[in-house]
């Protein structure tokens, strides 16, 4: 087996760029790091001397902390940048900002931006590897990876053994504001590439205008019809600003039709789980009791996020090129 990953990617910008093999290999890599996270001393010296900078042009708690934790667990140095308190407040452009940081010799830039495509643009300007940590309504690839990793764990639990390679046969419903959600976009791509059946559930106003090209099995506005069949229900955060945009008649109506109530959760399959990318609006898309129940894997997702991001950072900083120089004897020598 030659690795599908080696030397192929320098950036992680969208799930759409990844092939199935690469997804599988990243998840397998994350298995190794999940073990590191569970150790009494959860730190390895692998990326000593490398620098990871988080550049967040939009608010975040978990993603930023998760990336910083992942970098620290690998012994990389971390830097964080936020707009307030920076020269951007004085009007410095995005390009000048990232080029300045790049000149400091940063190895990985983790970028979150309110505009779709911003990380792609940054990747063109800098020498560092760029990771998209959420760009506008486009993608949030590491969230999708950690969701797949969590679902893989669910399959392993069910079968009792090592996690399977992919998610074949798993039925997942993604419920909520699909139209504005970068999480939904990345998740649909990753889940379906790994063989899961994806259903979308949303009010018509929050469903994308066109679903052409979306690799899904079904889309509709009926949660009740699907609840009993799904292996996992993925609830998206209802962005409350959508209310003011007139896309929803009322919060209560949304909660009644699309929220995962205790009653709906009772009708879920044995062993089926509930995922949520956080932060949760308890009582809107998810009932408080359901969020704290056995089915909810929300804290597991957060824990897995660190392992998956360690895998991503490791992969991006791994030397490119596959085989070492094919000098006679040297390849073998390097092994011990």
């Amino acid at each position: 087996m030659t690795s599908a990953l080696v030397g192929v990617r320098r950036h992680l910008l969208s799930i759409a760029d990844l092939k199935r093999d690469e997804l599988i290999e990243l998840l397998a890599l994350a298995d190794s790091f999940a073990e590191v996270v569970d150790r009494p001393i959860p730190k390895v010296p692998t990326l000593r001397g490398r620098t990871v900078a988080t550049l967040f042009f939009e608010a975040s708690t978990r993603t930023r902390l998760s990336f910083e934790t992942a970098a620290k667990r690998l012994s990389a140095d971390t830097m964080s940048f936020s707009v307030s308190g920076s020269s951007m407040a004085k009007g410095e452009s995005l390009r000048d900002t990232v080029e300045t940081l790049d000149a400091m010799g940063i190895d990985v830039m983790v970028v979150r931006h309110h505009s779709a495509g911003a990380p792609h643009q940054v990747a063109r300007w800098v020498r560092a590897a760029v990771v998209n940590a959420g760009d506008g309504q486009h993608e949030h690839p590491t969230q999708a990876l950690l969701d797949c990793f969590t679902l893989r764990e669910v399959l392993a639990e069910r079968a009792g053994g090592r996690p399977p390679e992919d998610l074949c046969g798993l039925k997942v419903a993604i419920v909520g504001d699909v139209r504005h959600s970068r999480v939904a976009r990345s998740d649909v791509l990753a889940l379906s590439a790994l063989g899961a059946e994806v259903h979308l559930v949303a009010p018509a106003t929050l469903m994308p205008c066109s679903l052409e090209g979306w690799p899904i099995v079904g889309a509709g506005a009926e949660l009740d019809a699907l609840v009993g069949e799904m292996d996992a229900i993925y609830l998206l955060r209802l962005q409350l600003e959508r209310m003011s945009a007139g896309l929803l008649p009322s919060l209560r109506e949304y909660a009644t039709r699309f929220g995962l109530s205790t009653e709906r959760a009772m009708r879920m399959k044995e062993g089926a789980v509930v995922l949520h990318p956080g932060p949760m609006n308890r009582g809107v898309e998810i009932d408080a009791a359901v969020a704290s129940s056995e089915r909810a894997r929300v804290t597991r997702q957060v824990r897995n996020g660190v392992a998956v991001r360690m895998a991503v950072l490791f992969h991006l900083l791994e030397p490119a090129g596959g085989a070492p120089a094919p000098l006679e004897g040297l390849a073998d020598r390097a092994e011990r």
Binding site: M1, L29, P40, P319, E335
Partner: protein, 189 residues
Amino acid sequence: MATTERRRARADGRVFRPRAVVMDGADVRRALVRIAHEVIERNHGTEGLVVVGLHAGGVPPARHLVGLLSEIAGHEVPFGTLDAALYRDDVTLRPVLPQAATHLDHDLTGKVVVLVDDVLFTGRTVRAALDALADFGRARAVQLAVMVDRGHRELPIRPDFVGKNLPTRLDELVEVSEQGVAIGDLVTP
């Protein structure tokens, strides 16, 4: 040495061609029985011992060894596996893929660790493994058991228990399995 590392190092398409079989399956088993007795002799029993196999090549002989030790001692000797890939000093020089997760459920503080690998060569894997072990507690002692010592050390590391000393050329390759030990070369098929 991890098998997958070996495979990745051969992404150039070269394959291992054995030239000579230096130990057969029976020789390997005999050597392990001898090592088991040496371990017990050195440590005056199996009290406080933990056997740790180094991924991937060291895991099968370590498993075998721990079976023999348990049989001789009459009780289960603790066993674990360790992947030192993340501790290597050449992570940045070549592709390293941590393959198998480490399984080491024991606090090693105060224990005597018998580290097992298939082939001892430059000593760099063992160095990485020693660093990795330190993260699991302060062992009272670490002893090294290898199936084959092929020489060419680059670090001041020596084995405590050796299946066979095998003089090799730098460009040769040694493969260890339950079926025996073969020496050969990497060739382009």
